[in-house]
């Protein structure tokens, strides 16, 4: 398989504490180029290679370019760009590597996004678990400011922009847009009803454009990509490369950059070094805790948005959790369910009660006391949750359960009758 480094090309190439060494390898030339362009031509460029939101929310899967141009079209003063670095999904740690190894690129990307949107402020919302990178980012922001890449009249243009760093404190739900915004406003991060949508009324009721770390990080690289390296990677409608994180029962868990179209087998057996002790794969979960599961039959599917969707899973956050034969499907579902029961914010009834009762029924199944009736009820609760929960957490919490019911029907056969 081919090796690519597009998003990761700056990794290890400069001193992440010194802006000078970043500028030396061509840093901030994308910003200089961007400020000479029309904002809409930048969003068109991003749209032309079909960069999709890399955060992983299902309804976020539309073009990043469109998102930026829509945000620009919104009328309002003092617009905001938020970089969502609240990587709460389990098995997902790709943004950690981007922040750790290429912080200045992220800062540059946020400034460019701010220019495209017409914003005056950028916020980085980073999870408390990554607090060790706070000094790194604060230093990057300070140095960018002293070099005139942030502040008033950036590079002599009529463009003012500042970046603020905010921290979460261990709430998974704060990865959800409206919850994240409440957290930045200094309140408990509970999601709210939409509309009003974030793009019209987000943080401090200002029009807000919320993007993932990875989606933003692509932008400076794209602007400087004269040889069209990015566009030459990929397969079908999934153009370019993707950061993925592989964990679980593999020999070499870690973060990898792959061109779209790499098969799942290549990812697991070549990049991640195969399954520990050559055990069989029980199941693979794609896209973190809220992702769907598949069995071994998915190994030869190319990793693209379309092929994975056709195979019944999603790219999601880019996390791939490989589970070997030692863990049963039921045990896995119980662990996943524990996660959601813990992380539900408890605000809306379907999510709060649904997660609890599904957990109770799964526990009952583990004890062998569940009836076909219970399984039916569990299925119903899961569907009600995905239809009526307030935010994305409740809507997607049962993805793994519902997809497991399709892929592993034998697990749910209790009392002889199929559910």
């Amino acid at each position: 398989m081919e090796n690519v480094s597009f998003l990761t090309k700056n990794f290890g190439k400069y001193d992440t504490n010194a802006i000078g060494s970043y500028v030396k390898i061509g840093g901030f030339s994308a910003l200089k180029k961007a400020l000479d362009l029309e904002p809409l031509s930048i969003s068109d460029l991003i749209a032309s290679v079909k960069v999709k939101g890399r955060g992983g929310a299902e309804y976020d899967m539309y073009d990043m370019g469109r998102k930026l141009s829509q945000a620009r079209a919104v009328k309002g003063e003092r617009k905001v760009v938020i970089c969502n670095a609240d990587e709460g999904e389990t098995t997902t740690f790709k943004d950690r590597e981007l922040i750790k190894n290429d912080p200045f690129n992220l800062i540059e990307a946020i400034i460019i996004a701010g220019y495209v949107v017409g914003a005056t402020d950028g916020y980085i919302y980073m999870r408390a678990e990554y607090a060790c990178f706070r000094p790194l980012l604060l230093n990057a922001i300070r140095q960018a400011k002293s070099c005139g890449f942030l502040g008033e009249k950036i590079l002599g243009k009529n463009f003012n922009f500042n970046i603020h760093l905010y921290s979460g404190a261990g709430a998974y739900v704060c990865g959800e847009g409206t919850a994240l915004i409440r957290s930045i406003e200094g309140r408990a991060g509970r999601p709210r009803m939409k509309p009003p949508f974030i793009k019209q009324s987000g943080v401090f009721a200002r029009p807000t454009c919320l993007c993932n770390v990875e989606s933003l990080s692509i932008v400076p690289h794209l602007l400087l990509d004269e040889q069209q390296v990015y566009a030459s990677c990929g397969m079908g409608d999934s153009i370019g490369t993707k950061m993925i994180s592989v964990a679980g029962n593999v020999n070499r868990p870690g973060v990898f950059e792959i061109p779209f179209g790499t098969t799942v087998r290549e990812i697991i057996y070549e990049l991640a070094g195969g399954v520990q002790k050559n055990r069989h794969i029980r199941l693979i979960q794609f896209g973190g805790a809220s992702g769907k599961v598949a069995d071994e039959s998915i190994l030869d599917t190319p990793y693209t948005y379309e092929d994975l969707r056709a195979a019944g899973v999603m790219v999601g956050s880019g996390g791939i959790l490989v589970i070997d034969e030692r863990t049963s499907v039921l045990d896995f579902l119980r662990m996943n369910q524990e996660f959601f029961s813990e992380e539900s914010c408890g605000q809306c009834t379907p999510c709060r009660e649904g997660n609890l009762h599904i957990k109770l029924i799964l526990d009952k199944m583990a004890e062998g006391k569940a009836t076909a009736e219970d399984v039916k009820l569990m299925c119903k609760i899961a569907r009600v949750m995905s239809m009526s929960s307030l935010c994305g957490l409740g809507e997607t919490a049962q993805n793994s359960l519902l997809s497991a019911m399709e892929v592993f029907p034998e697990t749910f056969e209790v009392g002889g009758a199929e559910a």
């Binding site: 990587e87 408390a128 996390g319």
Partner: protein, 168 residues
């Protein structure tokens, strides 16, 4: 607004000075309350925000005290109850737990060495064992997080013992 209460529970001048430094570094910005609470709770050896401190912060930042307690109870990393000097956080998400043997060894070794179960604190207040959701070190499992620092690849008893010994 909260004078009556802050007078009832006066903070030492030394602590006030430390809290003021934290507040100053955040420009007394009430929207930064989450970071402020994270930093203030680490000023206390037991890593929590005592009630008098919460009232003091509310007064200084001019926010309702309910907002402070709402944040303290909402966010998993904030606490209004005393914790241990070293809260040992173990990841409870599937990504770590599917490494069955390593995770079981980590948990049973810690429980044996400290003679406590998950959710309990040692009698001297030095260690708590607690489970938390994913802290983003899935590739370094089995790992624990103690006061913000991740200790990774704890795959033998010796490493776990060495870790406990290394804490002052």
């Amino acid at each position: 607004m909260f004078n009556a209460l802050t007078k009832d529970y006066p903070l030492s001048t030394e602590l006030q000075g430390k809290i003021d430094l934290v507040l100053e570094s955040h420009g007394y910005d009430p929207t930064q309350i989450v970071e402020i609470l994270l930093e203030v709770q680490d000023l206390d050896e037991r890593h929590y925000v005592p009630e008098p401190t919460a009232y003091y912060l509310a007064e200084k930042l001019n926010v309702p005290i309910t907002n402070i307690f709402d944040c303290l109870s909402f966010y998993a990393q904030l606490s209004d109850k005393p914790r241990a000097k070293y809260p040992i956080q173990i990841c409870n998400s599937p990504a770590c737990r599917v490494n069955v043997i390593d995770t079981k060894r980590l948990l049973s070794t810690l429980e044996r060495l400290l003679d406590i179960k998950i959710g309990e604190t040692t009698y001297d207040g030095r260690f708590t064992l607690e489970t938390i959701s994913c802290f983003g070190a899935c590739d370094r499992a089995p790992a624990v997080r103690i006061n913000g620092q991740v200790y990774d690849h704890l795959d033998t008893q010796e490493k776990i013992e060495a870790l406990l010994r290394s804490l002052p």
